[in-house]
């Protein structure tokens, strides 16, 4: 539930503009960290993981347009900086196929990018405690819970622009221009929790499979070609 399918023109301007600003800052920081990256290794990986995210997002697993994101897998394979970039690319392409509005690209990138960053961090934090499958699954459940709370926070913050409803009286519509955050929160948390478990199981299995078949994909070294002793951004 952490990828907002809210179309254009629903959220107040200040909110989605803020989303673009925060996304630009986060992308700027990410790109700064990637400035001396080994392009030959990382661009194909970035393309493959972003494309896998898009394929996963195209598979509806619950009849409420719920789909898996693989954003935690992206974070684990690419690292936080490149994972955030993958989230941006996936959201941009999704918006270009009409899946979510253009104006919410910023907010969606923040949500999906947070999943990549948090998922990566938790996966490596649990390194000594859990085996690979459970590490990835636990990281996914915690990450999705946190980002669902972020999503509810965004919806609560939106509180729909009051001007949006100024013509209500003229049309006899019996409503107040307020969002029921509690209704939305109940929906997001109850439906979302089913999705977290499905996504956690798939993420755990995918990461375990990769660790068995091609473990070097789990060791992401951003600046490996610069110097043998160059900085490493997280290793398994």
């Amino acid at each position: 539930m952490t990828h907002m399918h809210i179309p254009d023109g629903i959220l107040p301007v200040w909110l989605w503009v803020s989303g673009f600003i925060v996304m630009a800052i986060a992308l700027g920081i990410g790109l700064f960290r990637l400035r001396s990256m080994d392009m030959k290794k990382k661009i194909p990986l970035l393309g493959a993981v972003s494309a896998a995210m898009l394929v996963a997002m195209s598979l509806e697993i619950l009849p409420i347009a719920y789909h898996i994101n693989l954003s935690v897998v992206a974070g684990i394979l690419l690292g936080p900086a490149l994972g955030f970039v993958a989230a941006f690319i996936a959201n941009l392409i999704l918006a270009l196929v009409g899946h979510g509005g253009i104006t919410v690209i910023g907010l969606n990138t923040i949500l999906l990018g947070s999943e990549a960053v948090l998922g990566h961090t938790l996966f490596y934090l649990f390194k000594k405690i859990l085996p690979v499958f459970w590490r990835a699954a636990a990281a996914t459940v915690i990450t999705l819970f946190v980002t669902t709370i972020m999503l509810i926070g965004i919806v609560a913050a939106s509180d729909l622009n009051p001007e949006f409803f100024t013509h209500a009286a003229e049309h006899g519509a019996a409503f107040k221009g307020q969002i029921s955050v509690s209704t939305f929160a109940i929906m997001a948390l109850s439906l979302g929790s089913i999705g977290w478990i499905v996504e956690a199981a798939i993420t755990g299995a995918v990461v375990r499979f990769i660790s068995q078949v091609k473990p070097d994909l789990l060791v992401h070294v951003l600046h490996g070609n610069k110097a043998q002793g160059g900085p490493r951004e997280g290793t398994q």
Partner: protein, 234 residues
């Protein structure tokens, strides 16, 4: 299911006035319609704007009826969001139109413009790594879709799907996604190596923006008309 492959086919195979219009004019058209949706306070002008977009798409030989169905995909999400709002029919009408009108404009853009042209324009504004990542994702996506189709066919033939066995199905699908990821990385690495041998030096395609052309009157006129409708509606 996002039918990107079909959209790509429509974009590459058409020859109507919207296909001949420049990418820049169609992106401006999209931004004008998004601006109209953002500023709209009444469903009527958006409904009129939606009908106008529909007429423009039909006149330009686009698959307008399929586009209607695809644009209503956005309405589903608007309704899901709308459930959490306290509102009446007027508000839901406005919300659905705010969703489907820009979605139709977006579909008009992507159904009449091949992705490389859109990416070329966007890439002019993006840092190199984002532009390269965007192209590589686009290329790999179609490879992956193909592999996914083959994988699903293979797993069905070998009895990998058992109705009612959620655990077995999930395990097989997860292994399939893992295998697809590994193979996609290998293929993307090969593709990148081939491009490097052919002289790739950081830029994936020409990022020169096209100038305006004769057929641009259609997207630009439609976009301005929709925005004016919304602004002037009393």
């Amino acid at each position: 299911m996002i039918d990107v492959a079909r959209i790509d086919h429509w974009a590459a195979s058409g020859s109507g006035p919207l296909h001949r219009a420049s990418t820049l004019s169609k992106i401006l058209f999209l931004l004008l319609v998004v601006a109209a949706a953002v500023t709209a306070r009444h469903p009527a002008p958006l409904a009129a704007g939606y009908l106008l977009l529909l007429a423009a798409a039909a006149a330009a030989g686009l698959p307008w009826l399929r586009m209607v169905a695809l644009s209503f995909y956005a309405a589903l999400f608007a309704v899901l969001y709308g459930i959490s709002l306290r509102g009446g029919a007027w508000m839901y009408a406005l919300m659905i139109l705010k969703a489907i009108t820009p979605a139709y404009a977006m579909l008009t853009l992507i159904v009449s413009t091949p992705y490389p042209k859109i990416f070329s324009l966007i890439s002019a504004l993006l840092p190199e790594i984002l532009a390269a990542g965007l192209y590589m994702t686009y290329r790999t996506f179609f490879i992956l879709l193909d592999m996914m189709d083959n994988f699903i066919a293979a797993i069905r033939l070998r009895g990998g799907f058992s109705p009612g066995s959620l655990y077995k199905n999930s395990a097989n699908i997860s292994k399939g996604i893992g295998m697809l990821l590994v193979r996609a990385v290998e293929r993307a690495t090969r593709l990148y190596a081939v491009m490097a041998v052919r002289g790739y030096s950081g830029k994936m395609a020409e990022t020169r923006a096209e100038g305006f052309r004769g057929p641009d009157w259609l997207p630009l006129g439609a976009g301005v008309f929709v925005l004016m409708l919304v602004i002037l509606w009393k």
